[in-house]
Amino acid sequence: MHKSESHEPLFHIVRREHVSLKHSVMVRAAAVVLALLVCALVFFLLTGKSPLQFYSAMIDGAFGTKRRIWLLAYKTAILLCISVAVTPAFRMRFWNIGAEGQALVGGLACASVMFYLGGKVPNPVLWILMSVSAIAAGMLWALLPALCKARWSTNETLFTLMMNYVATQLVSFFINTWVKSGSGTLPPMTDYGLPTLGNAWILNIIIVIIITVLMHVYLFRSKHGYEITVVGESENTAKYIGINVPTVIIRTMLLSGALCGLTGLLVVGGTNYSITTTAIGGQGFTAIMVSWLGKFNPLYMVMTAFLLSFLSRGAVQVSTVFKINDSISDIVTAIILFFIIGCEFFINYRVVPRHASSDKGGAK
């Protein structure tokens, strides 16, 4: 007979019963600090320059001038808007990874209203049409996977993923239809853009702040929000207490798609006045990470969206100042993401070494 001890693994993992706020904040802060140290180390290995220069360039890129601060705020707002949009679906465990496509078709619908009706109707009417069409397009793009999920439980992750690329090609089709020269770039239709306050960014930022607060109230203080949470926790429980699961799925996805479409409106109608296939620039995917890192809570997501926007703006500056390939931005972002993703484990679980656990077992 072997001793029972020799069969026991070196350590085992226990879920923490109560996670204190202090503990979770400490672990996350440690992860970010550690990640920034690793980034500085990578930077040192690549360029041989001091890590301090790396940090100062990051901060300079994000806050260096008034314009950069505005841009950072705007980037954060757009990323936050998409993140808030995908959150209700995620809380329902509906993995909508099609935010990129939903925002893009929203932008496309907005651009087509500007292209076909711009100048033919008064601008206030045009703005209303732009908003309505963008939101409707986003909703349509979200409705298709939601219907299939509700009716035949089609895998929504794969469905929404494919819809992104259908959207990209659709935009490419329309740009090439509109631009006769074949250059593939649509000149900005500045005359028909949404009204602005002061500068091009303020109105967008205000809209996003309002949406974020409203979404927080909707998710945590309304009956709909409660239903979403129950469906996410257990569909069977939801059925048992009389929640119509297909209705909740479709309603929530329509909301999600509408907000994605709105983001497309803000980007195309409010800022760029034109559209490209990369108008959303992968933010629809980044939003998934923002939402998850923010624990699907719109208020926490303000911080995670800010962190990721800060990183990308800062890394752009690092690559310009030190003349490194601009892929460094992706590398820095990914390193930080991995650290934050990995640290969740240490928040929720405890690693118990072999001897400590056998002592405990003996005490029982």
């Binding site: 993995w95 035949w152 998850w292 993703i341």
Partner: protein, 320 residues
Amino acid sequence: MRLVSFLVSAVRVGMSFLLGSTGETITEKSGHLNLGIPGIMCVGAACGCITESFYVTSCGGIDHVSGFVAVALPILASFAGGGLMGLIYSFLTVSLRANQNVTGLALTTLGTGLSNYMIAQVSGSSYAQASKIFTKGLPIADRLGVFGRLVLSYGPLVYLAIIIALTASWMLTRTRIGLNLRAVGENPATADAAGISVTRYRYVATVVGSGIAGIGGLCYIMDNLNGGWEYTIDAIGWLAIALVIFTLWKPNIGIIGSIVFGAFYVVSSYITGVSFNFKAIIKMLPYVMTLIVLVFTSFARRKENQPPEALGLPYFREDR
């Protein structure tokens, strides 16, 4: 003859999709929806090209290299690079229990950034020259007319892709390892109770699958771009993920499916009289077809055509 050259180039680009989708199928069979495949293919491509570049330089030019080593070494490097990325993914999702979608997307960000950074450090021509070794077909191909061109004219990676797909298909359906792997992906709790190590199967399947997908990235650079680098290899990765669904998680069907996808990918350069904007619609078709297959299979509810039951779901023994 135009039709033949169209089919040949469809097969050549299709095989990079096939390698990516075979790798992803093996991974998904273990229950991992690895959205890092686009990044993994980028890194695989970069590792292969950089290794080739070092090898060619160390031999003192493309004329002095040994053909076998010049092909085998980059393939191994791509496999290792892809496998290493898969290891990061498995460590985070299996050992640290992170969310699969978030980890996969972060891996794609890392992979595209890392590959574009790494490839800028070596001279492009050194590995570009080697692509002619990769695309050299059997010498008798020229003498056998259309048959020779369609079947025998490809480089080693194309045949490797088909062999890997057939082997994977055989492993998944005809061996105990495959049965165990499918059990892990369908119902990890039951597999665990039956004494199958869920952790080990998920790790190995993801690492091997990622390695195969990494070779797919190399295949795209060498066979389709003739050694040129492209900053958007990740687009191939998303098509590979689509192909997994399109072929209903069966690598042997993937051989046909990949050629169909390849045909749509290259067809716009072979047909004339089609307006520029319509080409975007053609490029949309693989995704639309995939969507139709996805909806239709969920509608038909045939057990053998469904995604693995536990796809995308984490498994922690203690949480049961």
